[in-house]
Assembly symmetry: C2
Amino acid sequence: MVAALDEALAAWQLLLGPERVLQHADQLAPYAASTSAHPVWPLAVLRPLSHAEVVGVVRAAAEFSIPLYPLSTGRNWGYGDACPSGAGQVIVDLSGMRRILQLDTELAYAVLEPGVTQVQLANHLGAQQAPVWMDCTGAGPDTSLVGNILERGFGHTPYGNRMLHVAGMRLVLASGETLQTGFGHFSAARTTYLYPYGVGPWLDGLFTQSNFGIVTSLGLWLMPQSEMVSHLVASVEHFNGIAPVVDALRPLRMDGTLRSVVHIGNDLRVLSGGMVFPAAEVPQGPPLPDALRERLRSGAGIGAWTVSAALYGRPAQVADARRALRRAIGGLARLRFIDDRALDWGSAAARLLGSGRAGQRLAAQVDLGRSLLNMNRGVPDGRFLAGAYWRRRGGLPPAFPQGADPARDGCGMMWLAPVLPLRGAELLHVIGLVAPVFAAQRFDLFTTFSMINERTLGGVLTVCFDREDADETERAQACYSAAFERLLREGYIPYRVGPQSMAALDNGDDSYWRTVARIKAALDPQRIFAPGRYDGRYDGR
Amino acid sequence: MVAALDEALAAWQLLLGPERVLQHADQLAPYAASTSAHPVWPLAVLRPLSHAEVVGVVRAAAEFSIPLYPLSTGRNWGYGDACPSGAGQVIVDLSGMRRILQLDTELAYAVLEPGVTQVQLANHLGAQQAPVWMDCTGAGPDTSLVGNILERGFGHTPYGNRMLHVAGMRLVLASGETLQTGFGHFSAARTTYLYPYGVGPWLDGLFTQSNFGIVTSLGLWLMPQSEMVSHLVASVEHFNGIAPVVDALRPLRMDGTLRSVVHIGNDLRVLSGGMVFPAAEVPQGPPLPDALRERLRSGAGIGAWTVSAALYGRPAQVADARRALRRAIGGLARLRFIDDRALDWGSAAARLLGSGRAGQRLAAQVDLGRSLLNMNRGVPDGRFLAGAYWRRRGGLPPAFPQGADPARDGCGMMWLAPVLPLRGAELLHVIGLVAPVFAAQRFDLFTTFSMINERTLGGVLTVCFDREDADETERAQACYSAAFERLLREGYIPYRVGPQSMAALDNGDDSYWRTVARIKAALDPQRIFAPGRYDGRYDGR
């Protein structure tokens, strides 16, 4: 094995040059940094810059039987970060492949390499004055679009269900062959990036949340810019009050009035955007005492829940949607609509109020409003990463959000992501299931529920912990495991997991995972790619 | 082989009873009927009624190595009909599995077996007074929903891109194992039919246009009924005039003003809905002489092209969409909007006009309008099958559309289904490519171009021929092949093909088809399921 690794490294150095084959501990350490306190060190890190180099990397790996773990930019925070799926793997870091290979503003798509980040594409669209917007997530400007899509992440806009807005993948298979999905493998194809399915079996889904191939580019659809965007913020005073709001919004999500992903955050989720855990006031650590939590909530002017959504369209469409929303939830929540005009007014008013407390508070609200409207238009904002720092000693780094990287900054965070039927009672039921677990392990429960499609809520429940505190870290892992198991048993299956939970998805007698393993054995018989990543317990025989 | 078949038949008879194992030629003949004049006889036909029976059927097939060809209701007209993908196969006819296993009107989905037909589900929804509509196609009331979805067909409504509205497949694999996709393989899962992707590789696409498994049920999403539906019919006078209309509609399709599939038919497509080829007037056969074609067109009050689309929503939304459409194409086409109120007025006016020609013509128009509005609401109508009978001797059967079955009625028809970028110039280019081929073989060119998603047109070009005329049949096959090749070479790849073209999709050196073959070998090493169906030329080794 060691001899094989040395030979493989020599081959990779020949291919990439020694400076793109990282082996020193200080070069590898950033990749092992883990928000879940499960660091896994790679044997080495390779940094190919092109599809052809990836082919070469894979061929050498196959020749010497060294497992590879590909990553786009390695910012899969809370779900495994940049860590390989097991020990003994070599990372293929694709962040240097950051070309925007095509941009078509008429048919509204771009072809991206895995290293292209949210801010890079947003800036490119801006510089080209392209009349299109991308979808973006709150995970920060420097995260990879392709990486998030392959993990089946979701964003904030009408294109937030990202799997529905992808066509034409190019991959390297474990055999070293290049595969183009959709129509891309027909030499003259004109609709590779316009029509996902191609003819014959539609393979794209196979290469998401899997270890069957290394995607080196894909076509991402972009939204035409709309005349108007209006952001809804609805505040729900009491905890139980969210259930009727969810039920009243469901028909509007289903009939297309709400075409964007609707996010519902609890008070802690909103508060953690502007502060970290007040350790000075609460020296015994989490959870926040109820009285303090209430004081913080009322100080921020928020309720138990905040619903956030965006309306797009011509002014008449937006006005009609606003009326429909007021009819549906006007009696259940306090509604505010934010648009450019309202923000301009707010700015002016804040200037008039001056530097006093009221003026500062209004200015901060206007600033947040601009960030939200920007997100709706595909301009990412690092501020929404703040929640990851809740339990970090020292709080937010001074330059935050510049260069923010929760894994390398020492944040402790794990995400539970159950999928629920889109019903208010289900939301309350999920919280009822996990709240006792969080309470028993003494953690605050941060929750977001997002209408990721017309029929489900994607929950994101965060365990935030102090990674420098061994006891708290242990309790965090216990809390995560207990909540994970309870949710799974009750039928709230996660849409995505970190490496610590992949084996738990397979009960050992599941034809789904047997099928996955047989496909793995057919496409990658040596198990070169990311063994252990979303591949169950079965060995394919 | 014969001995094995006898043993397998004996096993199947034991399992299903002799009456559900069809072997007599007169029982098999309907399955061999072929609109493309490529009849393929099955060895036998099995009619299981449950998932468990399908498992039994597959196990016996595997034991005796007899290939199976599954079909839902066998109405894949123009794309292979009910014929197996090759000689020596036994058909598994699932049309007896016609249970609607679940209907949830709040979260708007149904779980269907493969035998459930369009009219059956539509009637069920009507009888339940369910506040939801299904998507339907023009392929007739008795066609299978599941079968069409697995062929990746498309319909007429906002749910017309059917692959996007499916979650939770249950299948029988060649091993006899049962596979549930999405979250369905987790015992307590609550969102099997609500969230397609599950966790881990998303497999659903693999089981469309393929031969990897037999789907025995799936979850189909239904549309919430909208307050108002308005059907747009836009008439474009001149042939070239369609290009600017396509370009002007594209932004409205892309921004969601047009959420439904937009269909664009040429004059012949519209005319063939109300007549067959006028053989008495044109004894030499097709093509229609120009002067006659023009006379027919002006008699029907149509232009060279007819654009058909539906608007859904609250009255204010529909009114806004109508305004946007008038602004976009009001100067390029003659627009009519059909809704319930307009049809009621039309009916009344037709009654006033009485039984004269004007009254009859108006009554017929109202009748067509009702059929179109019904389609928009998921009520299928057999009349849209009429085009298949264009060259049938004797024209439409007396009971048409009752019991219409183009394959068994002797219609000759083959479909070419290229996918185009959604641009007017591409539409004209495609016609420019195929028109000379059709002219050389003396066929009329029927065309529909449908905006099957926001970025492509799905073309359906029909070769209609007299199956009783050997020369015409031969020319039809030559016409089809030449047009198919030309389109493929120019990059207009078909979204779906009949069995005569499956091998032509693989140039023999294509890693896509090699990948498909490796998956086939992994999941069905004996090649029990539909060998030759969308599986390229490679044998999986």
